[in-house]
Symmetry: C2
């Protein structure tokens, strides 16, 4: 791997350009929602989820740069769920996808070190597990830099990245993130300025000008999205809220810079459960996923160039 | 189990009174720090951590009401770590300890549902796994009530509890938690008022007057601790920072009410790594842990009555 390609942001931007798809597909597998054709073959959830995940990887690998795998949907199956998660992370990477582990972790001191080791390999990657680890993870900023620093160090050491939660897509996001501060702006804007600071640190900014430290930014108010885009000029935005969560192209477009770079839009259910969508009736489930993914990529590409 | 005892706060307060120990012991096992006597017997980390955890449970079970197990130290060993975590949760509960899963999770929508199912059994507990699940977990408030609600519902349905991160013990806690708000107070104080609101909901307050929704509160400034104690009258405080993290008895005392209830102090490394402490030299490691635990309980009990 060349020094240039080693930086996560460089790898991500290159993959987006190559696929012409500023997106990632979110793998949030709920056993009850899997295609009957998959469920019928297995008596336990984990093997069914593994087969489903493999089918998703196969269906989207040539269409998109990245897969986001949410740990919550695997943790609820305990050890066998984690085994399934690790297997899918490894196989998606082998298939050429960048993998974002959507783990939303943060702790302090030694505990954060352990999370960073678990998910990004720490600063001394254990080679036996390293291939199972995602290219990037999501982290929570409530604990300040202490909750993020070991992830940053692992990202720098291993050519990996992170996306810090700044502005989330849920209705109650405003309860904490939109609190107005005494010296101006909101909590989310202050977190954005921390992310900009963290991301500018030595060894994290790639040749492409973006940092390995990105941000999760869900479009809320238009002016807020604009301010966040300005506040984090070197951060790639991971944008939830497309598809099932119902944000418009115009709202999402503001997460991109004018040159069409700087954001990666996620869709989960609208792609992976395409077998439930009347629009794709009559196709086998993997063809339905590929068709829904193509439609998603087409819409996302319009967002990137809408400004 | 009686209806009274079903509420987590009632179970916790009863256990604190029975043991006369307003504490929990934190199990944060790092393989490299385990006693040589344990490491020598195993070629892989997980069996060593399992034996160590079992020894800790045995050493402290008659001395304290609760064990806090931090998921970070198990996640770094992937599936076999999670298996070990689940086993220790189950065995600690069978031994009569209340178990707090220190997971610091939060997500939105279906993802939070899945975390709540994984860690507190959701609203329809899967009986096969239910005994492996902790009595309570820690959660992160950055996403607002959406990140917490499914945990609250599971807590209500299953007689379990949660501790919401309000004020953490790390130096950079201030970067977000201590931001001053335009209409007065800080982010942590606003989160405290949310915790008070959430905890007062129907079905969560026990006969003891405390709610199943507690708060993680690390003593920082004296006045801040006082304000947080007033802001969350029905919440038990889970207090980190004792022992290795170096808070004084006076600072910790402010987390209790004047009647000596309302807080549970955690110590991790100063108890579980007592074999490294010159004070306990010459004892086998489990005896050292029990001795360190007795000393910790004695100091904590003084904090509870120091006001």
């Amino acid at each position: 791997m060349s020094p240039v390609a080693h930086n996560f942001a460089d790898r991500l931007i290159e993959a987006i350009q190559r696929t012409r798809a500023p997106v990632c597909v979110g793998l949030d597998p709920v056993y009850e929602r899997l295609p009957a054709a998959v469920r019928e073959k297995h008596v336990a959830p984990c093997p069914a989820i593994l087969e489903f995940g493999r089918g998703i990887i196969e269906a989207v690998a040539d269409l998109v740069p990245a897969l986001k795998i949410n740990s919550a949907f695997f943790e609820c199956h305990h050890a066998c769920g984690i085994q399934t998660y690790d297997t899918l992370v490894r196989e998606a990477r082998l298939r050429g996808l960048l993998v974002i582990g959507d783990i939303k972790r943060a702790d302090v001191g030694h505990s954060t070190d352990m999370y960073a080791r678990a998910h990004l390999g720490g600063v001394k990657p254990e080679s036996s597990q390293d291939g199972d680890l995602p290219d990037a993870v999501t982290v929570n900023p409530y604990l300040g830099v202490d909750g993020v620093q070991p992830f940053m160090e692992a990202a720098r050491a291993n050519g990996r990245g992170l996306f810090v939660l700044v502005q989330t897509s849920n209705p109650s996001a405003k309860e904490v993130q939109q609190l107005k501060l005494a010296d101006g702006g909101t909590v989310a804007e202050r977190v954005a300025s921390l992310v900009a600071l963290w991301g500018a640190a030595e060894g994290l900014v790639g040749q492409c000008g973006y940092s390995a430290i990105g941000a999760v930014v869900a479009p809320q108010e238009v002016e807020l999205t604009r301010r966040l885009r300005v506040a984090m000029p070197q951060s790639v935005f991971l944008v939830p809220g497309f598809g099932a969560q119902g944000k418009t192209a115009r709202e999402v477009a503001l997460c991109f810079k004018k040159d069409g770079t700087g954001a990666i839009i996620n869709a989960s259910r609208s792609v992976i459960y395409a077998h439930d969508d009347a629009q794709y009736a009559g196709q086998d489930w993997k063809s339905a996923v590929a068709a829904a993914c193509r439609e998603f990529v087409s819409q996302a590409a319009k967002c990137a160039t809408a400004l």
